[in-house]
Every structure is written in structure tokens, then in C-alpha cells.
């Protein structure tokens, strides 16, 4: 291995004389031969020459050692050795090594770095001595290339060698006998300047500029022949480049040094950088810090760090008084004593007890943190004040030397503690008038204000002239309604209570006439993402500052408020409860020495929102060729933005969209003028700051004025016709009654003879048949007889059918049900006796006026209107039981006792 060789090389240094001057100029062959030694000695032979020659090779390095022939001791001057290196019988290097007379007799060494790895080709070494004009005979040594082991695979050399980025290197490949080189290249190096040369028939050299560091464990050199392949690794990287050594002590028993690591050497495997601090090797594998045990004393100290790899060495130094470079250890065992609010800790290093120490405390209360600093010799405690009662804190501490401060220690491990409780802070109280009540409300104390669990709130209110009243409200309720006499001032106090006691009361004065906003101007304001940005004119009365409260204009209101100092006249109000599209009413009050005074009212939206469509209820009205579209006023609840006006869009199927608008936010109609006859669509939208919205549409058809006139006449005529029809139907349905009213029947005289009696016993039908042959007087009696022969007629007619006569006799025919009330009632209870019947009349049949038959005294025939001719001999059909509903009621005949 090279390292091993390098160590040998270093060990040989004391006896090794460096003469190595690389011959840049072309070396010509000397032409000398082993036998051509010349001598100026009388004997003709110069015996002083090298002996016991040894050659060691590793990679590119050739190390040659030799000794002087014993005869050299006679030389008392500088003896020169000449060295020649030949590769493939070509001289590649010539060098002379001078040996002084004092060095003669010792072992000499010489090393040289060949451009070609010694494994690649045999290096012939020639060595001889020269003194004055005499030279010894050449001694030959030859390196044996590793490639001569006749491997069955191509062999690449050198293997696992370290190279610096930017250097030029030559690799060789020895191909097995009979194989032909195909490729010889470096993986990952795409440089085209590679030069593959043939050293001999089986050895090829690749010279390459190494411009890339090994990104993997090493860079591969691949040799591929026509039948096989193989490779080798090369480590290409950088020498160490570490810098900025800084040393310090922590415990006065050791020194800790840190430095800035240089760039990656890319030689972590091939030649990792080693570090040596104060001549001791740094362990642990860290490449930027190292410690060394030593007793630290006051005074200058020189720290030295050596960073080394095969490509180079870096020496870093730091000259410092280590007592001024003390980085303390973190405080240990930090504890908190709640009774004396004392934080205390311990030091593990005895030396710290005599040090002037500064400690920094980082106090975290959950969200915020505060820093405090304390100083003292051997400082090991700190008293904390201004802590929130009943609160949990976390504290961490770090310390450093006060004099010659160098660095803070690490933070100690955190310690958590809880402070003792206390009475609550005073409440923030405000008032609100709702209906006839005064609502006293206050903000629920935050955990940082309650200092313990709130139990309840105590409210006292005092009319200026009367006795104090008192009430308690259980937490978490935080308001109280009072019905106060509006004719006097009240002073209301509210206090909170926890287990440690009650807070000092907060008072508010309720004025005599709490008439609300009378006389105060109402303006508009506009919110933004950050809330409402309000500003106002300073008020002389606001000696105690200002209060701004706010509530949604519509809907349930839980008032919220904010106090502003007297010297401020603008503020930004933000609440997480603000909602988009909700109108808020903000009131500015001046805090006086008595009751708050309302100064100003503003209303606005936190963020205006588009009003939903179908906002309006539209109506339209044609006025000549104009159309007025109207709507109801928009309720506040439906306004999610300030309405600045309205716009009416209208269009028919042909023309383009037209519009008419108004900036009057109270308008309730718009007129579209000069329209054409036809169908139009009207859309009304509200104009707001966020755009047009609330779109509502209606469709209307416009008619010509003539059409309207004709339509009116038509409607009138139709109405008259319908009325007439109704009258006719009514008359028809109530004809019997009308007839009876107009022509009441003449009552029959009471007959007591047998005719009458016997007639009663006869069939009704035969009487009827006979009747047609009687005189008018006789005829007039028929109804009476007819009636007499029948059973009592019920009050209603047959519900489903009524009988009618046909030529074939009777058969059932469906008829419409007749309402009993409309036909029978007027007739059931006649107020007057019926009048005499007229000479000519329609015959009542089946209880109805029969319009089909007319009885004429002069005409014996009875003819139906439909041409039907009833036969005299025909048997008269039996009258249904429900016929003649009217007759029975007022035609009363004397009853003949039945036999």
C-alpha cells in the first residue's frame, strides 16, 4: 500500500539524501555501456560503486537503496551517483545523486515517481558512481511488472491510487495473451482528451486529466477487450482545506477546539483526513471539533491542529488565553420555590463558584416569553417578580462569564412551575339599554385576570338618593338586567369573586335620561379585513377616554366594547365575531367623570356581501307604452350590503338589453319607457359597493290600447251574457214557485156528494182520461181529485230517478237531483190561500211544471211539444209518491172515511 510505503519513506528520511530533480529537458541516451567505465586511477579500474542495491515499487513510486563499495572510503570528496531509468529500453529519466565524504559508507536511498505505474511496465534502473573523471560500471536493476502474472482477465493499474483533482494520471491495462483491447476509459469522465497509447503488444496506457472528484466510493477505470473486461479504482479528490481554528475551555480541565471544515475531499474511503490536536490524534470521526485534556491556566496558549490526507496537510493554529475563552456548562437541577418565588440551580464545575457569572432567564408564560438577566459571583439563584398569579410558567436558563464574556452556555433543561392564586383583577363593565331595561354587562375575566376560578359576580346599584341594592350572578353569566327609574342617576358596581377573595369593584354611572341615540348623528363606515378603522374628533368631555361598543344592527345583540385612552382619537376594531354581510352599529361614547356620553354612531359592514338573488317582489303596470315595475322596500335583514340604488334591465326577444336606474336607495319603482307591443322581461338589481345583486325578474306582455278597448267590451258582453244565463237557469229551476207566486192555484170548493166520494175511489187514471172531456169547470176540479187519491207526498223527490211516460209504458230515466230547498221550501208554507187558477195553464206533472203539455178547454187533444200524442184510452200511469211536492201542502181536501 502506498501509505505503508509512505511511512517507510518518512522513516528513511534521516539517511536519505534528496537529489531528485526532475529532468524537464529531453533526456538523451548516454550511450554508455556497462563495460565502458573509465578511470583515471593507475590500476585502470574504479572500484568505488554501488552495492547491495534494492528496488521497491508501489504504484508510480520507485524506491532505490544502495550502499557504497568499501573502496569508496578512500574517496575524500563528493562522490556522485548517476541514475538512469528506462522504460521499454527508452531512457525516461536521468539523475545524479551527490554523496558527501561523511555520508560515504552509509545506506543511500533515492525515490522517484514515474509517470507510469510500475505494475504497467518494467522499469530498468541503471546506477553508477562517478568521481572526478572516473566512473564505475553500471549496475542494473529492473522492476517486475505485476502484469506478468498472466491473468486470464485484463488488469488495470494502478489500483486504489489517490489522485488530486486537476492532476494528470496515466493508467494502463495489461490484456491477456491473444486478446485485443476494445476500450480503456474512466467512468464518469467524458473528457475527449484521453490518450491511449500502446506500451507493448499487451500493455496499453491511458493518460487522462482528472477534472472530477470521485462522487462514489471511487472512480472506476474500465478495460475491456474483445472477450473480457475488468477494472480498477482510483480515488480522485482534494487535499484538506480546513480553516479558522478556535479553542475554548468549559471546565478548565480540557480544551475544546473547533474549526470550519473545508470542502469535501471526496476521499472518505481512499484517504480520509486525519486530525491531530496538540500532537494527539483526534478520535470520534468528527471533522470540525476535537478535545484535548489539559489543565487550563491563565496566559497565552498556542493550539495547533494538523489536518492531513494523502494529498496534503493543513496546519491551523489558535493563540489564546483560555481563561478568557470559557464557555460554561448549562445550569443543572433548576428548581422553583413558590413561597419565595426563587429559582435556583447547581453547578457541576467547582471552578464556576469563583467566577463572576451572568445568567439569562427565558420565562415563557405559554405564549409569550420574557428575558431577564442576573449577575453574581458563583450565581446560582434568581428571584422572579411580576409573575401572573395562578399561572404556569416555563423557565430555561443559560449563563456565561461576566468578564471576558465568550459564549453563552447551552440552555438548561426547562423547569415548569405554577404561581399562587390571588383575587381577580377589576372587571371591565359596560351598559346597554334594551327596551325599558338597562343591561349591565362585563367581560368574563381572562385566565390571566381571574387568578383563580371565578365563583360569581356581585352587582350593587345605588340610586343617588336611596339605599343600595345588591345581587349576585353566578359565573359564567356575565350580564344583569336592571329596571331602573329613569328619573334619577344610578351608580352600578360589579365585582368578581374567586376563592382568594373579591376584586375591587368596577363602577359605571347610568344617567337620568338614557334616551339612546336621540340627536346624535349616524354616519356610515366601511370595514376591511383588519376590521373597522375608526377616527373621530377629540372631545373635551372625554376625560376618562372613550368607549366604542358595537352590535349587529338587526337581530340578537350581545354588545362588545373597547376602551380607548383619552389621547387617542382613532382605533382599529377587530373581533373574531365579525361576520361578512352583517351590518353593525358602532357607538362612540365619551367617558366623563359621571355617566358616559354618546358622541357618535356609525353603521357599516365588516365586509359587504352580494345580496342574494330574488330579493324583490315585483309588480308591473302598463301605462300607455311605458311599464312601471315596482317592488316593496327591501328589509334590512335582507341587505348584506348598503344599497346605493337600483337598476332595471328590460329586453324583449328582438332588441338589445336596455336599462334604467336610480341612485335613490329608497326608490320602490322604475319605469321602462317607449316599449313596443310584445313580451318583455324585466330584471331589477340593487346597486351595492360590491356589485349589482339581488336580481329578480318578471315577464310582462304589452298590448295595444285598441286591443284593450275591445277586450273591455268583450269582457262586458260576456259578463252580461253569463248573468242572463244565470237568471234564465234560476227562473227555470224555480219556475213552479214563480208560477205559484204569479198565478197561484185556485182552491177547490169542498164537495161532499157521492160523486166526489166515488170518484175518489176510482182510479186516478180513468178520472184523468175523463177529464179531457169535461168542461172547464170540471177540469178545474181535477187537481183536487188527483191529489186526493194519493198517499202523502214526501218532502223530497226521488234522489236518483224520475219516471216518465213513454208509448211503451214507464221506464226509469236518470234525472238530475233537484235540490229540495230551492224548489220545495217556498211552496211548503204558503202565506196566502192560492188564487184561482187561470183559464189556461200548464199541467203540473210529477211535482214539476210540465212545459210539454198544454191543456186547452176547446181542444180535446193533448199534444206534447215533441209531437207525442197521448191516447185517451191509455191507462194513466200511477203518479209517483214523490210527485207534487207543492200541492199537498196547501190543497187540503176533506178526508172521506174509508170504508
Amino acid at each position: 500500500m502506498y501509505t505503508y510505503f509512505n511511512d517507510i519513506y518518512l522513516n528513511l528520511l534521516p539517511v536519505y539524501i534528496v537529489f531528485g530533480v526532475f529532468m524537464e529537458e529531453e533526456i538523451t541516451e548516454s550511450g554508455d555501456s556497462l563495460q565502458s567505465s573509465s578511470c583515471c586511477f593507475p590500476s585502470g579500474v574504479f572500484h568505488c560503486g554501488p552495492e547491495n542495491i534494492t528496488v521497491t515499487t508501489s504504484g508510480y513510486i520507485i524506491l532505490l537503496t544502495w550502499q557504497d563499495d568499501p573502496s569508496c572510503k578512500s574517496v575524500h570528496d563528493v562522490l556522485t551517483y548517476e541514475l538512469e531509468v528506462l522504460i521499454a529500453d527508452k531512457l525516461v529519466h536521468y539523475e545524479e545523486v551527490a554523496v558527501t565524504s561523511t555520508q560515504i559508507g552509509s545506506t543511500h536511498s533515492w525515490n522517484w515517481s514515474s509517470h507510469l505505474a510500475t505494475e504497467c511496465a518494467s522499469h530498468m534502473l541503471k546506477l553508477r558512481s562517478r568521481f572526478a573523471n572516473c566512473t564505475s560500471q553500471w549496475k542494473l536493476e529492473q522492476t517486475v511488472p505485476a502484469a506478468h502474472n498472466h491473468s486470464d482477465l485484463p488488469e488495470v493499474y494502478p489500483r486504489d491510487e489517490v489522485f488530486q483533482v486537476g492532476s494528470r494520471a496515466t493508467f494502463c491495462c495489461v490484456v491477456p495473451m491473444g486478446e485485443v483491447l476494445d476500450k480503456l476509459y474512466l467512468v464518469g469522465h467524458s473528457s475527449p482528451k484521453w490518450n491511449v497509447s500502446e506500451i507493448n503488444s499487451y500493455t496499453y496506457a491511458l493518460t487522462v486529466d482528472l477534472n472530477k472528484a470521485s462522487m462514489t466510493s471511487c472512480t472506476d477505470i474500465i478495460c475491456k477487450t474483445n472477450t473480457s473486461d475488468n477494472g480498477a479504482c482510483a480515488y480522485i479528490g482534494y487535499p484538506p482545506a480546513d480553516r479558522d481554528l478556535i479553542c475554548e475551555t468549559r471546565d478548565f480541565q480540557s480544551v475544546d477546539c473547533m474549526w470550519t471544515a473545508g470542502r469535501n475531499t471526496h476521499l472518505a474511503i481512499g484517504s480520509p483526513t486525519t486530525y491531530q490536536l496538540l500532537e494527539s490524534q483526534c478520535a470520534g470521526g468528527s471533522n470540525d471539533r476535537c478535545s484535548h485534556k489539559m489543565q487550563v491556566v491563565s496566559g497565552e496558549w498556542n493550539g495547533t491542529l494538523i489536518a492531513k490526507n494523502q494529498l496534503g496537510t493543513v496546519v491551523l493554529t489558535d493563540r489564546v488565553d483560555l481563561t478568557k475563552r470559557v464557555r460554561m456548562f448549562a445550569p443543572q437541577n433548576v428548581t422553583f420555590n413558590s413561597s419565595n418565588v426563587r429559582l435556583q440551580w447547581e453547578w457541576t464545575t467547582q471552578m464556576y463558584k469563583d467566577l463572576d457569572i451572568t445568567c439569562q432567564l427565558n420565562i415563557i408564560d405559554g405564549e409569550r416569553h420574557a428575558e431577564r438577566q442576573c449577575v453574581g459571583v458563583g450565581l446560582n439563584f434568581a428571584v422572579l417578580n411580576e409573575l401572573i398569579p395562578n399561572w404556569t410558567y416555563t423557565v430555561i436558563i443559560r449563563c456565561g462569564t461576566t468578564q471576558h464574556f465568550w459564549k453563552w452556555s447551552e440552555w438548561s433543561s426547562s423547569v415548569e412551575f405554577h404561581t399562587m392564586g390571588d383575587v381577580p383583577d377589576p372587571l371591565d363593565v359596560w351598559t346597554q339599554v334594551k327596551d325599558s331595561q338597562t343591561i349591565i354587562t362585563w367581560k368574563v375575566p381572562l385566565p390571566t385576570q381571574s387568578h383563580g376560578d371565578i365563583i360569581d359576580y356581585e352587582i350593587t346599584w345605588t340610586p343617588t338618593s336611596k339605599q343600595q341594592k345588591q345581587a349576585r350572578v353566578i359565573h359564567p353569566k356575565h350580564s344583569f338586567a336592571l329596571s331602573l327609574d329613569s328619573r334619577q342617576d344610578y351608580v352600578v358596581s360589579v365585582g368578581a369573586r374567586n376563592k382568594y377573595g373579591s376584586s375591587s369593584p368596577s363602577t359605571i354611572t347610568i344617567p337620568i335620561l338614557n334616551t339612546g341615540s336621540g340627536g346624535v348623528k349616524l354616519s356610515r363606515t366601511q370595514g376591511s379585513n383588519s376590521g373597522f378603522n375608526l377616527s373621530w374628533s377629540a372631545s373635551q368631555t372625554a376625560t376618562g377616554g372613550y368607549i366604542i361598543d358595537w352590535c349587529p344592527t338587526i337581530g340578537p345583540c350581545t354588545v362588545d366594547w373597547l376602551k380607548v385612552p383619552p389621547n387617542e382619537t382613532n382605533i382599529n376594531i377587530f373581533s373574531k365575531d365579525f361576520k361578512d354581510g352583517v351590518r353593525y352599529l358602532l357607538s362612540l361614547h365619551a367617558c366623563t367623570h359621571r355617566a358616559p356620553v354618546l358622541l357618535e354612531r356609525m353603521e357599516g359592514y365588516f365586509k359587504e356581501k352580494l345580496i342574494q338573488d330574488h330579493l324583490f317582489t315585483l309588480k308591473w303596470k302598463q301605462k300607455n307604452m311605458d311599464v312601471e315595475v315596482s317592488w316593496d322596500p327591501v328589509a334590512l335583514e335582507e341587505q348584506s350590503a348598503f344599497i346605493q340604488g337600483y337598476i332595471l334591465y328590460y329586453w324583449d326577444n328582438i332588441s338589445r338589453v336596455m336599462n334604467v336606474s336610480t341612485d335613490n336607495s329608497h326608490a320602490t319603482s322604475l319605469i321602462a319607457k317607449n316599449l313596443q307591443i310584445g313580451s318583455y322581461t324585466f330584471t331589477v338589481k340593487a346597486n351595492t359597493a360590491v356589485g349589482q345583486c339581488g336580481a329578480t325578474s318578471i315577464t310582462a306582455t304589452l298590448n295595444s290600447l285598441t286591443d284593450n278597448f275591445i277586450k273591455a267590451i268583450g269582457i262586458t258582453l260576456a259578463t252580461i251574457f253569463v248573468l242572463l244565463c244565470l237568471i234564465v237557469i234560476l227562473c227555470y229551476r224555480n219556475w213552479e214557485c214563480i208560477k205559484l207566486k204569479v198565478y197561484p192555484p185556485i182552491p177547490m170548493p169542498v164537495l161532499k156528494d157521492k160523486w166526489s166520494t166515488s170518484l175518489t175511489k176510482q182510479s186516478f187514471h180513468s178520472v184523468f182520461v175523463e177529464m179531457s172531456h169535461h168542461t172547464e169547470e170540471e177540469f178545474m176540479a181535477i187537481p183536487e181529485l188527483h191529489s186526493k187519491s194519493e198517499a202523502p207526498v214526501p218532502d223530497f223527490v226521488d234522489q236518483g230517478n224520475v219516471s216518465s211516460q213513454t208509448t211503451n209504458g214507464y221506464h226509469k230515466m236518470p234525472v238530475e237531483k233537484l235540490p229540495t230547498s230551492s224548489t220545495a221550501i217556498p211552496c211548503q208554507t204558503p202565506l196566502l190561500p192560492p188564487p184561482s187558477p187561470p183559464l189556461s195553464s200548464s199541467l203540473v206533472k210529477d211535482g214539476h211544471l210540465n212545459h210539454s203539455f198544454t191543456l186547452n178547454s176547446t181542444d180535446t187533444s193533448v199534444e206534447g211539444s215533441n209531437g207525442y200524442q197521448p191516447q185517451k184510452q191509455r191507462e194513466q200511469p200511477e203518479v209517483p209518491e214523490n210527485s207534487l211536492p207543492c200541492v199537498l201542502t196547501y190543497i187540503l181536501l176533506p178526508q172521506v172515511p174509508s170504508e
Partner: protein
């Protein structure tokens, strides 16, 4: 609690047969070993020229159509045993020469090593069940392939790749063979 008799479990994952477990393990190993091989090739930027000529390290009798199921299992088991031995040696050698790490490559390398060991044991049980001789716990010492041919780093890198390639090859072979065995036994069980 009800005192009714419990219904027996359906045959499935709850009662996984050894050949099914072995097949699952082999399939998993084949995925992981392929990924490890690719990861190593990229990590070391290995040239395709040398990888193509990488020879075999595992030595088992050649496959033959005359081999019965038990013999096939024995052959597979012998190959996997050699793979396990090679992998353990390769991991130790690599850590010695190049230093260990905790990256993705090292994690996957550990997973493959453990998965391979599980597969060897499972296939060993199958061989036992098939009535073969008790498999040797360690493969017979093999000089060839158990160490890189030469001590150079390049040879080590190439040898590591060859070891991982062998594991990949035999994982895929095992997955195919064990899948076939599992299917055959499933069909047999249904009949």
C-alpha cells in the same frame, strides 16, 4: 357468553400454508433485491461493460425436467443458502472496507438480508416436509465467490454487485418455483 360451538375459521390467511408463505416471501424478496441491485448500481456508477460479464457465484446442480418437486426444493434451498452466506459476507466486507451508513441503501440492504434469511428458513421447512434430508444450517464452505478475487476496491465493488445480482436472480427463481408449488398444492387440496 354464548355457549354455542364456534364456527371453524375459513381457510385463508389465518392458516397460511408454508408454501404460500414461502411464495409470498420470495415475491417480496424479488422486488426488494431488484431495487437494491439498481440502487447499488447507481450509487457506485457501475459501468455496464463490467456488469455484463459478471459471472455466477452460486453453484447448484443444473435444473432438469427429471427432478421431482422435492429435489427442486432442495436445489432451490441450496442456492438460497449460498445466497444468504454471500450476502452476509458481502455486507460485512463492505462495511469494513467502505464504512457503514444509515441511508436508503443501507436500510434496503439490511431488509434484503433479513428477508432472505426468512425465506431460507421457510423453504427449509418445505424441504423437511417433503421428506428430504434435513437441510444444512450453513452451506458447505465454498472458496469460489465467497470473497472477491483480488483485494482491490474495484474487485470488491464488482463482487458486491455480483452477490446482489445472485440474490436477485435466485429470489426471482424462488418466487416462480414457489408460486407453481403453491398453485399445484391448492389444486390438489381442492380435489
Amino acid at each position: 357468553m354464548s355457549g354455542g360451538a364456534r364456527r371453524p375459521h375459513r381457510r385463508g390467511r389465518m392458516a397460511e400454508r408454508p408454501e404460500a408463505r414461502a411464495a409470498s416471501l420470495a415475491e417480496l424478496l424479488s422486488l426488494e433485491s431488484a431495487k437494491l441491485l439498481e440502487l447499488y448500481r447507481k450509487r457506485e456508477n457501475l459501468s455496464g461493460d463490467v456488469l455484463a460479464g459478471a459471472g455466477r457465484l452460486v453453484s447448484v446442480p443444473p435444473p432438469s425436467a427429471q427432478l421431482g418437486a422435492a429435489d427442486k426444493l432442495r436445489r432451490l434451498h441450496a442456492a438460497l443458502l449460498q445466497c444468504r452466506s454471500l450476502t452476509e459476507g458481502a455486507v460485512a466486507k463492505e462495511d469494513d472496507e467502505m464504512g457503514g451508513g444509515t441511508g436508503e441503501y443501507e436500510t434496503l440492504r439490511k431488509t434484503v438480508k433479513e428477508r432472505l434469511s426468512s425465506l431460507v428458513n421457510t423453504v427449509g421447512e418445505l424441504v423437511k416436509a417433503a421428506g428430504g434430508p434435513t437441510p444444512a444450517l450453513t452451506p458447505p464452505a465454498s472458496g469460489r465467490g465467497s470473497e472477491p478475487d483480488d483485494p482491490s476496491l474495484f474487485a470488491l465493488k464488482l463482487w458486491l454487485f455480483r452477490v446482489f445480482a445472485e440474490v436477485d436472480f435466485w429470489a426471482r427463481t424462488a418466487a416462480g418455483a414457489l408460486r407453481t408449488l403453491r398453485n399445484a398444492r391448492s389444486r390438489g387440496a381442492r380435489r
